[in-house]
């Protein structure tokens, strides 16, 4: 039995071409069936996400022959007007195993260490298994990949820390308040990033979202999408005493919230902590407000810098993660060898490494 993977991702292909090779969840069973028919007796799993489309195949044909057949099938079925050789990668044997383990662990993701890919891989395997397109080789391969990914995530720092502005803001809010269920948020202005952070907060189930904007209609519109309440611009300062998190992203050319305002406000709030997220350029909140006790002020650079720091830390963990995965790769290779000998199929050992792009 020969294992191989043929795929395309954000590194090898532009989105305009990648989208032509992407499949929706509903299309997957039919594609798996068609590929199985095209390749003859084989096991197939199709992983299709916004960043990658990959076929994992275990077949009795040679991997190179099978990949050629698969490319032909793709070109015809998707009516591609470009050559697949330059857009895809091909991993065979041990390289295929290593690739899948790295994919499931998030090492090959656009945002290194992201966890969504793990669920997507599980789902892809589940669909193929349910449709009867997996056998003992791919079953074991994917089960090993899940164990490997779990260990990599647990014992390395690959998934540590948030890597987007919105998720860093949420992490900080949780570090200040704990559960966000009783937190009240105030959104000032209707900037895009501010809206994204507010939406993430709302998804976390905050107790109340107040939205204020110079144009009241815009505030109402945003408040509606966030299941919050709109506040007239002239009144937001009055409601500030209630707010625990303030997201400021107005287009004002000057500060709208000054240190002296907060200095007066904090005793009236019984020094309840307040988390100020200033996403505006130029900034909305006087930076010196950060010196006040119980005031936690972060601007967009602070959040971005934390996100970048986390991403850099994840990059540093890649080698550590690869070392952890190697152990699982070897375990699969040992299992594969035993399975082949036991089955007396005579297909030989898992090729140690064979990798080619195109």
């Amino acid at each position: 039995m020969n294992l191989f993977c043929l795929g395309t991702d954000f590194n090898t292909s532009e989105v305009t071409r990648r989208e032509k090779l992407a499949y929706t969840g509903e299309q997957v069973p039919a594609v798996l069936k068609a590929v199985s028919e095209a390749l003859g007796p084989s096991e197939v799993v199709l992983l299709s996400t916004c960043n990658r489309t990959e076929f994992y195949v275990a077949t009795s044909r040679t991997a190179v022959d099978s990949s050629t057949l698969l490319k032909t099938y793709l070109k015809e079925s998707r009516q591609l007007d470009f050559d697949l050789d330059g857009e895809t990668y091909f991993h065979e044997g041990a390289a295929c195993v290593a690739h899948l383990f790295a994919v499931a662990s998030g090492l090959r993701s656009m945002v290194v260490g992201e966890t969504e890919i793990f669920g997507q891989t599980k789902e892809a395997y589940g669909k193929a298994s349910l449709a009867g397109h997996t056998g003992k080789f791919l079953n074991k391969l994917f089960q090993f990949s899940f164990a490997a990914a779990k260990e990599a995530r647990t014992h390395s720092g690959i998934g540590r820390g948030s890597v987007s502005v919105a998720s860093v803001a949420i992490d900080l809010a949780e570090q200040i308040f704990g559960s966000l269920k009783e937190v009240k948020a105030m959104v000032l202005g209707a900037g895009e990033t501010g809206e994204r952070v507010a939406r993430t907060l709302a998804d976390k189930g905050v107790a109340k979202v107040m939205v204020s904007n110079r144009t009241y209609e815009k505030a109402e519109e945003l408040a509606k999408t966030l299941s919050g309440v709109a506040i007239r611009w002239e009144e937001w300062e009055k409601f500030l005493i209630e707010a625990d998190v303030v997201i400021a992203s107005t287009a004002a050319p000057h500060f709208i919230l000054y240190q002296k305002h907060l200095q007066e406000l904090m005793p009236r709030r019984s020094f309840r902590p307040i988390f100020l997220i200033d996403l505006a350029i130029p900034r909305d909140i006087e930076p010196t407000a950060a010196v006040l006790d119980s005031v936690y002020l972060y601007d967009v650079d602070d959040l971005q810098s934390i996100a970048s720091q986390h991403l850099a830390e994840r990059q540093q963990e890649i080698e550590n993660c690869k070392t952890l995965l190697k152990v699982h790769e070897q375990r699969y290779a040992d299992w594969y060898e035993r399975a082949v000998q036991h089955g007396k199929t005579g297909f030989g050992n898992l090729p140690s490494s064979s990798e080619a792009v195109g």
Partner: protein, 265 residues
Amino acid sequence: MADRIFLSLACIPYMLSSAYAFYAFGAKRFSRTHLNLGLMMTGFALHTFFLYLRAVSIHHCPLTNPFEMIVFLSWAIVLNYLLLGPTMRVSLLGAFSAPLVLVINLIALLIPALDYPTHYASAGWGVEMHAGLSVLAYGTLGIATVAAVMFLVANYYLKMRFLPPILSRLPPVGKLDVVCQRVTVLGFSLLTVGMIVGFATIPTGFHIIKVGFLVLVWIAYCGILIGKFMAKISPVRFAYGCVGIYLFVLITFWGIHLHAVPQHL
């Protein structure tokens, strides 16, 4: 006395717990809080056994000399940690409590002059209760101080806009402030009851320095609590207040009792 060996043994798990806490900070990992809890429980068992042996040998509550008092104090800190830590879901409290308990015990063990034999004549249940409640109160206030230190550490990182992995293992600053305040109230209440029992039952000849010390500490805690409840002082200042007062207690506690006449608790 031979019982000191058990206190020395108790220091080993406390030391391991402290070492683990420092390692966790250095290695930026903190996942095995159950290990810490196990170490603290082992230390507490040995610590308790020491106090039991001492009580049997002197036929009194082991509060008859400065050595016993500070060892009882550190025992009260661990007891409070074990009782309050899980209840308030502040599992990391142990990592912060262990070094404090270790230092107190090492000071007690390394200064032999503190452990002198006394010809203690019981002044009645009131005096024993006053002493026991007071030391228990200092133990509780010790835990409040540990929570205050945790608050200050978390606050420092958040203010510096630096999020080391250890920060995610600390409870939220808002919660730490609440825990610190509640435990201080509990400790202050115990201190107040102990003080009232003391004033009500000590018949004659109370030691003016001890009483002055107790009243001073009581006023200090009363002051920061009033300030906190009236929103006159911020959580940061309250936390600094807790740490400052407790440091004062730790520095002066043994000295005050060293100069006091043993019969006068």
